[in-house]
């Protein structure tokens, strides 16, 4: 039995987690909230060591040390642009750990403990799904594999068969808790996870990370039930519930439904973008042409995207904007809520370059201004200004709110190539006669622009 003081300690840790989540919802308190969450977690681990007096103490401490070093190094070294995939990976290993814990608990589940057996089966299956799904997500974001939806003939049938098989195996495990059935269940969970994420298009991946995060939360809750540990139960449920809501909020911000994201590609070809660059004519210009357009405009709006982050061009961009402002041009940044690879990505990036907050304008706030804007400078963004989201009902991003860059007098795209954006669909705006393209790495292009601007 767990001593009362430990139970109370767990309660304190659980409260830390609740307050941490609350604080994370507001910019002012977010950082303190995260620290409080970490404090709660440390408290919980210390209590566990003291209250349960685990055997194999030294190996456990070594494993703890290894994990700590790995986690700290991984998260310290990662570049800002690679953060989403790191979160996916952390989520995956959490799900994997939950599945392993449940597998080890199988031996202690006895006849008659039906609910505990169900919770164990659930943890194994969903933990494995979360693990393999997160690994595929990681591979997609890291561009170790194609970011486009991967669909092969028979995938829907195989997927449904696997899910039914998983449920049947879970039922078997509940009636007869044997370890090898558990391992089989784990394997089928891994397969389901892979098939769940493969058909998801690149732009929807952050939403899938959030969903898998909620899955892992629920497995931790179920694991807590099996172990009779209220802290795991509360923390896992909190994350499961908050993660589910967050998934819905993120999908809403992109104008997508979670169901469509997961199963759209399986149901029909409509979520597939063309993915190939067409050879239609475009107008491309040199740095001087673009510098003249910018330098003699009255009003310019910058639309930053993932390309800016990849090129680490945020400082150069700020220099360019300051030069324009010195010439008397009114310049703002238009921040699409899902620009980049994660919501808030651009705010983080531009904040790092110390762009003043007031110049970062949210989509709803600035969308009316495009009509009276002379030049829109799109730096490494694509899907967030794609008019297909408004005009082409068959496009995968149809319905997503976009920045109305197409309403401006002139549009300039800084692009590496004609390759379509993350959603894998063509952007009509690129072929518009009012559009000028400047090819090259965003930082090189911006550096050239800045130099050219000083001469015109």
């Amino acid at each position: 039995m767990i001593p009362t003081w430990a139970q109370i300690g767990y309660l304190v840790a659980a409260v830390c987690f609740i307050v941490a989540l609350k604080a994370l919802s507001s910019p002012r308190s977010a950082r303190a909230g995260n620290a409080l969450g970490a404090a709660g977690a440390v408290l919980a681990v210390v209590i566990t060591f003291v209250a349960y007096k685990p055997d194999h103490l030294v190996p456990i401490l070594i494993a703890l040390g290894v994990g700590t070093v790995g986690g700290v190094i991984g998260s310290r070294r990662v570049q800002m642009t690679h953060m989403p995939q790191l979160v996916a990976l952390f989520n995956g290993v959490g799900g994997g750990a939950a599945a392993l814990v449940a597998l080890m608990e199988l031996g202690d589940v006895h006849d008659g403990q039906t609910v505990a057996a169900i919770a164990t089966a659930f943890t194994i299956l969903v933990g494995a799904i979360s693990f393999s799904g997160s690994v595929v997500t990681f591979a997609k974001l890291q561009e170790l594999m194609t970011t486009r939806p991967v669909i092969f003939p028979g995938l829907p049938v195989l997927f449904i068969a696997s899910v039914l098989g998983g449920i049947a195996l879970a039922g078997w495990l509940v009636s007869d808790p044997r370890v090898w059935v558990g391992i089989l269940l784990c394997l089928i969970g891994l397969a389901i996870g892979v098939m769940l994420v493969l058909p998801v298009g690149g732009a929807d991946v952050p939403i899938v990370i959030s969903l898998l995060n909620a899955f892992t939360g629920l497995t931790v809750a179920a694991g807590g039930y099996v172990l009779g540990n209220t802290l795991l139960l509360v923390a896992g449920t909190l994350v499961g519930a908050a993660g589910t809501l967050l998934t819905k909020l993120m999908a809403d911000a992109m104008g997508r439904s979670v169901f469509n994201i997961l199963f759209g590609a399986v149901r029909g070809g409509s979520t597939l973008g063309g993915g190939t660059a067409s050879d239609r004519p475009v107008i491309s210009g040199g740095a001087e042409d673009v510098a003249i357009l910018l330098g003699y405009a009255n009003r310019v709006i910058i639309v930053p995207g993932y390309g800016l982050a990849v090129a680490q061009a945020q400082h150069t961009l700020r220099d360019l904007v300051e030069e324009l402002q010195a010439r008397g041009v009114k310049v703002d940044y238009a921040i699409h809520p899902v620009a980049g690879r994660m919501p808030g990505h651009m705010n983080v990036l531009l904040a790092e370059a110390q762009v003043p907050y007031e110049q970062l304008r949210e989509m709803d706030e600035i969308n009316g201004d495009f009509k009276s804007t002379d030049v829109v400078l799109v730096v490494g963004a694509n899907d967030v200004v794609n008019p297909a989201a408004r005009n082409t009902p068959s496009a995968p991003i149809y319905g997503m709110p976009i920045l109305n860059a197409d309403e401006a007098q002139r549009v300039i795209f800084l692009k590496r190539s004609m390759r379509p954006g993350f959603a894998g669909i063509e952007n009509e705006l690129l072929y518009d006669p009012r559009t000028t393209l400047l090819f090259g790495d965003a930082r090189d292009s911006l550096t050239k622009l800045l130099a050219a601007l000083k001469t015109v």
């Binding site: 456990i60 290894v66 009779g228 519930a241 809520p337 919501p343 110390q354």
Partner: protein, 101 residues
Amino acid sequence: MTESIALLTIFVLAAFVGVEVISKVSSTLHTPLMSGANAIHGVILVGAIIVTGQAESAIVVVVGLLAVVLATVNMVGGFVVTDRMLEMFRGPGARKKELQK
């Protein structure tokens, strides 16, 4: 049976709390919030320690230690990476101070 009912009650109440606490989040904070929640489910570490600490056969100890490593990566890495993200979200006031330096 009463214990299961107690646990079920905790589950249902925690689910409502989870939805309630994050219902008013701005889209800018979606990613750090997701990352923070991700770190919180790293407390499965507690479960991994408990199960490993009771393990009797060598193979279960090995699997348990693997679970401890994975859960620790999730928890420690999760909190550190969230902190790094939030480091960038300093308010305008904090940034001004920095510029004055």
